[in-house]
Symmetry: C2
Subunit: 423 residues, 2 copies
């Protein structure tokens, strides 16, 4: 392994984890750590306070530093700092999914020009090895599909809703109290975090740049206890699924939304804050990778793993291995949600009227939607009925049209929820 000098930008949970794990690898010397507040008390045994700086420029412009480890997160100032570091010929290790999703193209292009690598195992699914395996040992494969649980916070909340029948609001509050969710949970519960990750993961899997701006995204805030209950009765669990697939016409379908996942599917069995990625390719078939998607230690495993791989490669050669370069020239052609095909779960509030099911059936029929299950789920106090429909594979735009027609019928009071189904 080549001796490398590293600078770390960011010294929160992950940065501290990386610092601690690196203490066992004397080949990697930490030269500087950039923090916001240099005077903050840090409870790390034997820590040399002189490593700290509040000026990250001292890292990215330091000629002694070979590799910059960015674990600060966010676009600013990380983007400018990493550009400077790359221009100065430094290799980059980052856990910053948002930065890669939004600015990855520019960073990877610049890195290719400057003959440095950007490694980012920690940006997707924390400790789970997925990016490096796709680039190396799985490189004989044409990967055509990913379906994954990439956000631990929402999986924790959904697990509690399933296990304890909690409402979304109560489960969120518990998750916040236990530190699984942030005070402002938007990034997690509205699916932004999962969308960043699936854009990075599908880009490397499908070998073309998937744009974050064209990823359809829906969070878990509208899931009701009633949906969880109906899902259970029908043999499903509700999960926030990040998915990507290459269609037969070569177009790409990437999205994040809650799904009813058949309880027979291994992803339905992933509980609490665990992450899991199912990947389908030829010739390998289906693979599932499961583990901790966040946390100081699992994330440090990936960050330090990337540093050690780089050190190993640089011992053999000054130029980075072709397999670790990941600039993609081709932009994916991404389809709109309306053009996707799915099975659907529709929860409908209708008059308690013997004609309701007939109307639903008729509207579905004339919109090319085959119903596989229809179930009346009890009568409410206002004498309306809760009707749940599961469809066969249908086009999203047909479903949207049918829902609109249903709402125009006197008999249908409301579409309480529309979720997609994975069997």
């Amino acid at each position: 392994m080549k001796n490398l000098k590293a600078g770390i930008i960011g010294f929160g949970t992950v940065g501290t984890g990386v610092y601690k794990v690196l203490q066992s690898f004397k080949e990697i010397e930490i030269k500087k750590i950039a923090v916001k507040n240099i005077n903050k008390k840090r409870n790390i045994e034997g820590f040399n306070q002189n490593l700290l700086t509040d000026n990250a420029e001292e890292i990215v412009n330091n000629p002694e530093i070979d590799v910059v480890v960015e674990v600060a997160g966010g676009i600013n100032p990380a983007f400018d700092l990493l550009k400077t570091a790359i221009k100065n010929g430094k290799h980059i290790i980052t856990a910053n999914k948002e930065l890669l999703a939004k600015k990855g193209e520019e960073l990877f292009r610049l890195a290719k020009e400057k003959n440095v690598v950007i490694l980012y195992e920690a940006a997707v699914a924390g400790g789970i090895p997925i990016i490096m395996p796709i680039k190396t040992i799985l490189s004989a494969n044409k990967i055509t599909k990913i379906a994954a649980i990439l956000n631990g916070t929402t999986n924790y909340i959904l697990t509690k809703m399933h296990e304890q029948g909690l409402s979304y609001e109560v489960a969120l509050k518990q998750a916040q109290e236990l530190g699984y969710a942030e005070t402002d949970p938007t990034g997690d519960v509205e699916g932004f975090d999962a969308a960043y990750k699936i854009s990075v993961l599908s880009t490397i899997s499908f070998n073309q740049r998937v744009s974050i701006d064209k990823i359809y995204r829906e969070g878990i805030t509208k899931i009701k206890p009633q949906d969880i209950k109906s899902a259970k009765e029908l043999g499903y669990r509700i999960k926030l699924i990040a998915m990507g697939q290459v269609l037969e016409n070569g177009k790409i379908d990437v999205r994040v939304h809650p799904m009813l996942v058949s309880k027979k599917h291994l992803l339905a069995k992933i509980d609490n804050a665990t992450n899991s990625i199912m990947l389908t390719g030829y010739p390998v078939g289906d693979l599932i990778f499961t583990g901790a998607g966040a946390g100081a230690e699992p994330t440090a495993s990936s960050v330090v793993g990337d540093i050690l791989v780089l050190a190993s490669e640089l011992e053999a050669s000054d130029k980075p291995l072709p397999q670790t370069i990941c600039h993609h020239d081709k932009n994916a052609v991404q389809i709109e949600i309306g053009d996707t095909y799915n099975e659907y779960y529709i929860s409908i509030n209708a008059s308690n009227n013997p004609g309701a099911i007939g109307i639903i059936g008729t509207i579905c029929g004339r919109n090319n939607i085959n119903i596989s299950t229809i179930m009346q789920n009890g009568i409410k106090e206002d004498n309306t009925a809760e009707i749940v429909v599961i469809t066969e594979i249908s086009k999203e735009s047909d479903i949207q049209k049918a829902l609109k027609e249903m709402l125009e019928s006197d008999c249908i009071k409301n579409i309480d929820n529309l979720l997609r189904v994975m069997n």
Copy 2:
């Protein structure tokens, strides 16, 4: 990627799969394929019969060939052929778990001397990426535990026994008819195949040579429908588990045997011929890798993946990367089964006598065994009772002593089965 010339030894299911997948990678040219019968009809479109030879020496001694792909299996003649190839400076890709388990030490030593690499992703768990991730992206970890389903045949048989209540014999026969089990199933059902794989996997995981001769091994042939039924009632599934762990004293505990796996454990949910590996390390925590453990295409994914990694490395440098060398100087100190600690399932045939449970409890007590569950499972025609005991963590030698004492009691007719338990 560097252009490489490859010779393939063995052209059965896996060899044919490798040949087909390599057609998409023009950088890898197949120079020769060694087969037993050169005249056998091969149904491969556009196949050039001139590639075949029945003399594998033409591959291992061919100065044009850079890499030898060995997918023939067995010790002879693979061992001598690969030694010759290594001495001639060729890199090796092999799927041969038996060869690595029995002769790995000599091969890896020779490869190190000759500055060539031996890659063997396909030797453990077919298409699942595990060896390369452990050597690269997980290399920051100290791996302390592996628990895995590494044999698809036995997992298929046990799944059918669980799902359909079949006897071992009937389930085996069905597996043979469907091609999941061989005519002579010994290598699978007696745990040899899983033992080869866990020796290879634990060697690379624990960074010390684990000897196949010291791996305790027990197959699935003694599992009875009654055991499956009791396991189900108690919330378990029976799986053939290959496990390895580093104990606190630094000694190594590696073994293959059936276990009752708690149905909450993800390994309990792996059905049919699927393989799954759970790996525990610091800092990563628990990771689980699941996928196809056999078959032409998944295995070809790993074989060709190794070839492409090698080609990528050799483009950057003539010397192999340090991370791909895997000779281990240190021999593991492996403990005997008697010195292991486990929870146990004991199935006891006793007189239908109110004192039986008392006797079992007394014998367990004086041998330091705490019972966590004891359950009488119906009375047989001969007026004996089937009693099932689940113990807390106990030492295997204490268990063996207790079983001996039980058999000396008039009241205990037989110990029908002893299995270990994983919660």
